[in-house]
């Protein structure tokens, strides 16, 4: 009996903690988004600046996610299969952008690519502008979402080893076929896991993007920055809550996909054991 009551007490503590930190705020957010009715919500999310922000966020994700996926898989293949001097330093370099505050990434990008630094000056002489343009936003986003694919693929690659690839090679397969038909299917859950994390981070990034974007309404505002800008003007704005609802929904859907992938992955490992 005592055991059961302790179990319940524990559950209530955890649930209460979660409720205070996540449930209540997100619940309020969702309620406030529809406080003035569905049409008010719709009116706000179809505002030209809101649509522009959503579009920019989607475009940034469409570039940053595939590029970081390809780079992450390539880096994981190199790090898992080749021992070389500095390989640990390389992993560390991939981790730096998520280990430090995003604002530091933003400031560092400004230093490197604005007219403050020689590189930015040199680029400027050729008429290439990175800061306050979508290019800068994509770069900042790619930087802060850099290691997720590498980090989720590398342990899988190390675990499966090189035997399957070598077997395929002795059976006559070339590198291209081995990658698509043997390696990639073997690491596919790791890749999907990493891609989901990358999408979530890419859409949600605020700090680094804010610094490099210049916050130009309708031009360089991504969805999180648009939400902040609207909210900053009017504390009780349906526009901010509506935008936040859209962004939160995308992330929650990504999370649900992620957790179902994890469940499948776990099932797969049980099968293999």
């Amino acid at each position: 009996m005592k055991h059961t009551s302790r179990k319940w007490a524990l559950r209530i503590v955890v649930l209460g903690y979660l409720g205070l930190l996540v449930g209540l705020p997100v619940g309020f957010l969702f309620v406030h988004a529809f406080n003035h009715g569905l049409s008010a919500f719709w009116h706000e999310v179809t505002q030209p600046n809101a649509v522009a922000a959503l579009k920019l966020s989607a475009e940034v994700a469409l570039i940053a996610v595939p590029v970081n996926t390809v780079v992450g898989i390539l880096a994981a293949l190199i790090l898992a299969r080749q021992k070389f001097f500095g390989s640990r330093a390389l992993i560390l370099a991939f981790d730096i952008p998520v280990a430090v505050s995003p604002i530091i990434i933003g400031v560092a990008l400004v230093l490197a690519y604005s007219r403050i630094g020689w590189f930015g000056q040199w680029l400027g002489d050729y008429g290439i502008r990175i800061l306050f343009t979508p290019v800068g936003i994509v770069m900042a986003t790619m930087a802060v979402s850099l290691p997720y694919v590498l980090r989720s693929v590398l342990p899988v690659l190390v675990e499966i080893g090189e035997d399957q690839d070598q077997a395929a090679r002795t059976l006559g397969a070339g590198s291209f076929r081995i990658f698509w038909q043997v390696t990639l299917p073997a690491i596919r859950w790791g890749v999907l896991y990493g891609v989901t994390l990358t999408i979530a981070r890419t859409l949600g990034e605020f700090g680094a993007v804010l610094v490099v974007s210049g916050d130009i309404t309708g031009k360089t505002q991504t969805l999180p920055i648009y939400i902040f800008a609207v909210w900053d003007q009017n504390f009780d704005s349906v526009g901010a809550f509506a935008g936040a609802f859209v962004l939160a929904s995308i992330s929650i859907v990504a999370l649900i996909i992620l957790s179902s992938l994890r469940a499948r992955e776990r099932k797969l490992h049980v099968d293999l054991a």
Partner: protein
């Protein structure tokens, strides 16, 4: 000669793992590379397959020098120690992989795959995934996958190492039978001398990266060239300072004029009895005999005896 290796050398960080190996492997033979772990036997197998690059020496298969040929063009069937199944493909797809690489027509692939699943007795498992197979079944699938491409040489790396004792014995017989049926030149790597003696018609004994001796199992057992081969291939004891087989020692009564001494221990293992003696020269050889011989000898610990070598008949 089907495979000929000359002066093959592989070093890891300047330490030779395979050290100047020169050997000929006869066409159609079933050869076992036998050696303790770390002797370089698996590396030698990977050098033949091209999965490792030699630092020196040549690999010649059926007259073609393949030393610089990519493993994908060597026509070699390689079975990995842990079978390396493609986990996301079912048994039929695994077996057909090499045939699909060769872009054969679908009917040809299907026919060949169904012939092979029958050969390896997996016809009722063709649509199962590797995770649903037992160790022995995975091993047979890996064999079928390697055989599908009709390789010039079949290479098996510790083929029975990861299996339990009963399955291992079964599979040994089966591999021997299979080799009899298809007669492809086969090399298997093992550290188990019973396994090697039972399955193979040729043995290569490897030690510290070199081949100590090559020959048929009985040649090597009866006339080991080195003490290492002697000790590795079977029970070994020392009589008058020379390595001998314990069943070649005969214990007789104390009056025969041979080296004299006394029985120090008796171990009865059912049919076999091991008698250890201490001789006047201080040596302590042991003799292996049948239970009947032991009874006829009628000794206990402490009995005075003498020892001589049996004369081969």
């Amino acid at each position: 000669m089907s495979i000929s290796l000359s002066h093959l050398t592989k070093r890891y960080a300047s330490v030779p793992v395979v050290d100047d190996v020169t050997v000929e492997i006869p066409e159609g033979s079933l050869t076992a590379i036998l050696g303790p772990s770390g002797s370089g036997k698996s590396t030698l197998l990977k050098l033949i397959a091209g999965l490792e690059t030699p630092d020196a020496g040549r690999v010649v298969i059926e007259g073609d020098d393949v030393t610089d040929v990519d493993p994908r063009f060597r026509d070699i069937g390689f079975c990995f120690q842990h079978y390396a199944p493609f986990r996301h493909m079912n048994v039929a797809k695994n077996i057909g992989f090499g045939l699909r690489v060769r872009k054969l027509p679908r009917e040809v692939i299907d026919a060949k795959v169904s012939e092979l699943v029958e050969l390896v007795k997996l016809d009722n498992k063709a649509s199962s995934y590797p995770s649903q197979l037992s160790g022995g079944e995975r091993q047979r699938m890996a064999l079928a996958r390697a055989l599908a491409i009709e390789p010039r040489v079949l290479l098996l790396d510790e083929p029975f190492g990861a299996l339990d004792a009963i399955v291992r014995t079964e599979l040994r017989h089966w591999v021997k039978e299979l080799h009899h049926q298809i007669k492809v030149t086969t090399i298997l790597v093992t550290h188990d001398q019973d396994e090697a003696m039972e399955v193979a018609d040729q043995l290569l004994i490897m030690h510290l990266g070199t081949i100590e001796q090559a020959g048929s199992p009985s040649e090597l057992y009866d006339a080991p060239a080195t003490e290492f081969v002697h000790a590795f291939l079977g029970p070994t004891t020392y009589f008058k300072g020379v390595a001998v087989r314990p069943h070649d020692l005969e214990i007789v009564g104390p009056t025969t004029g041979s080296l004299e001494g006394a029985v120090t221990s008796i171990i009865e293992l059912g049919f076999e009895v091991q008698v250890t003696v201490t001789l006047s020269d201080g040596s302590t050889p042991w003799a292996q005999m049948s239970r009947n011989e032991f009874r006829a000898l009628n000794v206990v610990v402490g009995s005075p005896i003498s020892v001589r070598e049996r004369v081969p008949q």
